[in-house]
Amino acid sequence: MKKILLFCAFAALGLGAFAQNTGKDRLTELENMKLEKKDSVKVKAEKEYKSIDFQMLAHLGYGWHLVTAPEFDKGLRRRNGEFFLNAMELDVRPARWISAGLGIDLKWQSYTPSGGNTFSKNASGDVVLAAAPDQLEKLVSTLRCFSMAAPLTLNFHFGPAGVSLGAELVYTPASFVSINDAYSSGQWDYKVRTRGCGGVSPVSWNAFASLNLGMTGIYFRYYPKQPLVPTAPFNLVTVGIVFSSIDL
C-alpha cells in the first residue's frame, strides 16, 4: 500500500509538472475560449496612480464667508466670499490611500460689512472699519484682496471619495487690497474704488478640510483672527465648493 501511495504521489508530481502550461499553451487555450455575453467577466479597472505628480490648475473653488463678527453681514452674500485657483501643485502619493500636496494658489477674497458699516482708509493709509456716514444711502462697501497662498494638504482616499486636511500660508500685498464702495447720495449714484490699502496683515494663515467625491468636494476653511483690519480682527469660517483635477 505504501509503495502504491508513493508511486501515485510521484506520478502526480511528475504529471503535474508535465501538465504545467507554457505561455504558448495558455494562449492556445485562451484563444479558443468563448466570451459569454451574459456572464463575461467584468474586470473592474483599477486606476493607476502616479506616485509623484506635478500639475497646473490642480483645483479651483468658490466659498462663502460666514463671518462671526457682528460688523459683517451674517448669512451668505455674493460679495462675501473667496475664489481660488491653483497655479501649480506637487503631489506625492506613496500609497493608494494617502497623498500629500504642496501648491501655489491664487486667491481673490471679498468682505462686505453690514449696511451700517463701511471700509475706509485712515490718514495712515490703513484699512479701518467705521460707521457709514448718514448721507450715504444704499451703501455697500467691499474690501477686495488678491493673495497668493501656499496650501499644504494631506489627502485620504477611499475609492472615489476622500477627505483632505490642510493649512495654508497666505501672502497679501498691500498694493492688491482695494476698497470698493457703491452708494447713493442725493440724485447721484457713486462707485468709488480705493486702491493700495495698507494695514492688512501681509502674511496670514488658515486651516481647511474638505469632503470629496470624485472631482468635486465641499470644503470648510477657518481663518483665525483674520487680520484684515488691524483694529477689528475677527474669526472667519468659509464654506465652499472645490473642483479638483486630481482624480481620487
Binding site: L5, C8, Q20, G23, K24, S40, V41
Partner: protein
C-alpha cells in the same frame, strides 16, 4: 481492489490540483516598448531633452534610459508576480545593444515557461526586433507592415590613397596580425587576416541567431537561412506564409485580441502597466551588499567614461567597504589607454584578494576591456559579446610632406639629441626609431599576454595563439578558454552571492549615477566610425606606445 481505487482517486486529485489555472487571464498586462532605450546603465533623464546637432559640443540633458539590470530584475519578478498576467511587447523602433537583447530574450522565454503568455506586435521587423519578437508566444504584424532579415555585416573604409594624395604618412606599429584597427590608414583593402577574422566572427553569431529564431518559431534553421538568403521575406503576408508571424492585425484588432484573453470586450477593463513603471517597484534587496561595478565605455586616464585613476579609486573604496561581500564587474568596453587599463587591472587584482570578483561581459570586453577583467575569478559572457583583441598597436602620422606640398609650410628642427624630434608629427619615425617602438610594443604585448596567462591559467604559447589581436565572440571565447560560461548579469550576481555565502543580499551599483536633470557637456563623438585613439609618443614617459583600442561596428 478498494485500495487501488482509492489510490487512483488520490492521484487524480493530486494531478488536477497542479493543473494550470483555468479561465481568462486575471491581472495586468506588462507592456514592453522596445523604443524605450535600454542601456547598460540606466539614467533618470531630465525634464527636457535638448538636441543641438549643429554644435561642436554636446550640451544637453540626457533622456531617460532603462538600465539593463533593473529590466532583467523586473522581468524575473514579473514571471512570479500573480498581478502580472502577460507581456505585450511592441517591437517597433528597436534600440538596444545586441547583448542586452540576448539577455532580455532569455527572461522573456522564462516568463513564458512560467505559464504566462507573451504577445509581440509591431509594424516592421528587422534583425534585432525579430530576434527578440520571435521569443514571444505569438507574433503579430500590421497587415501593411513588412520587414527583412538581412544578416550581419560590417562596412569598413580605407584611407591610404587619400592620405598619399595629401602627402600624409602613417606608420602602423603593432603586434598581432589581427589587430586591424590601424589598417584603414595604411591599406586600401582588408588584409586576408582581417577578412578571415570578420568572417569567422560574424558567421557563427548569425548562425546562432538564426537557430534561436527558427527554434522559437518551430521552423528549421536551414529553411530560415534559405528564405533570408533568397530575399523571400518582405511584405507582411510573406512572413505569415513562412510561419514566422502568427497573424496580421491592426492596432484595434490587437486591442480586441488582448481583451479576449481577459474575457472582456472593453479595453478600459484591461489593466496595463509599462515596464518603466513596473521597474519602480523592483527593490534592490536587503542584507549584505553585492556591488555591480560598471566599466562602460572607453578607458582613458581622464575621460568621461572609464577614467583610469578615478575608476581605480572607486574600486579601492569597494575593497575597503566591509558591507560589500562580492563584486560583479560588468564590462562594456572596447579598450583604451594602456596605462589607464593597467591601473584598473591592478585595483581589480587587489580587490580579488579580499572578496569574490566576478566579471560579466556586455557588448564589448575587448582589448583593454579584456585586460582589466582577465584576472577575475570567473567570467560570464553573452554569446554575442565581442571580446579578446589581445594585441597592441600604435599609429604615428606625419604631416610634414602634406604641409609642404599643399599648404606651402616648411619645417625645420633643431634638437639637442638625435631623437628630440621623435613623434613630432612632422617627419615620421626613422628606421631606428621605428625599431625602438616595435620593441616597446612587443613589451606591452608580452605584459598583456602575461596578464591573460595569470588570469586564465594558460601558457604563453596558448595565449599567443588566440591573441594576435584577434576578436572573438563570447561563444568562441568560452571554447578557447578566454571566458568561463554564458550567463546574464543576474546570473553573475547569483554566482557572486553563492561565492560570498549569501542567500539574501542587496544589489548596489557603482559608479553612482547622477540623478535626472544633470547638465552634461562633452565632446561629441561620431559613434558610427571605428575609433582609433592616437596619442603622442612624447607624452608618456613610461609607456611610450599607444592606444590599445580596436572595435568595429556590426550592422544590424
Amino acid at each position: 481492489m478498494k485500495k487501488l481505487v482509492i489510490t487512483a482517486l488520490i492521484a487524480l486529485a493530486a494531478i488536477t490540483s497542479v493543473r494550470a489555472e483555468d479561465g481568462f487571464l486575471k491581472g495586468k498586462v506588462l507592456r514592453i516598448d522596445l523604443k524605450e532605450s535600454i542601456a547598460e546603465v540606466g539614467s533618470d533623464g531630465g525634464m527636457f531633452d535638448i538636441d543641438m546637432p549643429s554644435l561642436p559640443i554636446d550640451i544637453g540633458i540626457e533622456s531617460a534610459k532603462l538600465g539593463l539590470l533593473k529590466v532583467e530584475m523586473a522581468l524575473k519578478k514579473a514571471a512570479g508576480d500573480k498581478n502580472i498576467a502577460m507581456i505585450y511587447l511592441n517591437y517597433d523602433h528597436f534600440s538596444a545593444p545586441m547583448t542586452a537583447m540576448e539577455e532580455i530574450r532569455r527572461y522573456i522565454q522564462e516568463f513564458s515557461q512560467a505559464g504566462k503568455p507573451v504577445v509581440a506586435y509591431g509594424c516592421s521587423l528587422s534583425n534585432g526586433s525579430y530576434y527578440i519578437a520571435s521569443a514571444a508566444d505569438r507574433v503579430f504584424l500590421n497587415p501593411k507592415g513588412s520587414g527583412s532579415l538581412n544578416g550581419l555585416g560590417s562596412d569598413q573604409y580605407f584611407l591610404k590613397d587619400m592620405l598619399d594624395t595629401l602627402g600624409i604618412k602613417v606608420q602602423l606599429i603593432r603586434h598581432g596580425k589581427y589587430k586591424s584597427a590601424g589598417e584603414m590608414y595604411i591599406r586600401n583593402s582588408m588584409s586576408p587576416e582581417n577578412r578571415r577574422q570578420y568572417e569567422e566572427l560574424l558567421c557563427p553569431i548569425w548562425n546562432s541567431m538564426v537557430e534561436e529564431m527558427a527554434a522559437s518559431r518551430g521552423v528549421s534553421a536551414s529553411d530560415l537561412s534559405s528564405w533570408i538568403d533568397n530575399l523571400e521575406l518582405g511584405t507582411a503576408d510573406t512572413w505569415v506564409e513562412k510561419g514566422l508571424v502568427d497573424g496580421l492585425k491592426y492596432k484595434d484588432e490587437m486591442e480586441q485580441y488582448i481583451c479576449h484573453l481577459f474575457g472582456t470586450t472593453d479595453p478600459k477593463a484591461v489593466r496595463r502597466i509599462e515596464l518603466k513603471d513596473y521597474m519602480k517597484d523592483v527593490k534592490p534587496g536587503t542584507g549584505k551588499k553585492i556591488a555591480v561595478l560598471y566599466a562602460d565605455g572607453e578607458i582613458s586616464r581622464s575621460g568621461n567614461e572609464v577614467a583610469g585613476e578615478k575608476f581605480a579609486a572607486q574600486i579601492a573604496k569597494l575593497r575597503k567597504d566591509d558591507d560589500i561581500k562580492a563584486v560583479v564587474f560588468r564590462v562594456n568596453s572596447p579598450g583604451g589607454e594602456v596605462v589607464a587599463a593597467d591601473i584598473i587591472r591592478r585595483e581589480i587584482e587587489l580587490l580579488g584578494k579580499e572578496k569574490p570578483v566576478i566579471a560579466s561581459y556586455a557588448s564589448y570586453a575587448a582589448s583593454g576591456g579584456y585586460l582589466i577583467s582577465a584576472g577575475c575569478e570567473r567570467i560570464f559572457t553573452d554569446k554575442y559579446t565581442l571580446t579578446g583583441s589581445i594585441g597592441v598597436f600604435g599609429l604615428i602620422p606625419s604631416i610634414g610632406d602634406a604641409a609642404s606640398k599643399v599648404l606651402k609650410v616648411n619645417f625645420e628642427h633643431v634638437g639637442t639629441t638625435p631623437h628630440s624630434g621623435m613623434g613630432n608629427l612632422i617627419n615620421g619615425l626613422t628606421p631606428e626609431e621605428e625599431a625602438w617602438y616595435q620593441k616597446e610594443i612587443e613589451k606591452i604585448y608580452d605584459d598583456f599576454v602575461g596578464v591573460v596567462m595569470d588570469g586564465r591559467g594558460k601558457t604563453y604559447d596558448e595565449v599567443d595563439e588566440i591573441a594576435q589581436g584577434r576578436v572573438w565572440s563570447g561563444m568562441n571565447a568560452i571554447e578557447i578558454g578566454l571566458c568561463d560560461q554564458t550567463g546574464t548579469l543576474l546570473d553573475a550576481i547569483g554566482y557572486a552571492a553563492e561565492k560570498a555565502g549569501l542567500s539574501k543580499y542587496k544589489i548596489v551599483t557603482y559608479p553612482e549615477q547622477p540623478k535626472g536633470g544633470v547638465l552634461r557637456s562633452g565632446r561629441k563623438k561620431d559613434k558610427d566610425k571605428p575609433l582609433v585613439l592616437v596619442q603622442s609618443l612624447a607624452d608618456e614617459p613610461g609607456y611610450r606606445c599607444m592606444a590599445i583600442m580596436d572595435y568595429f561596428t556590426i550592422a544590424f
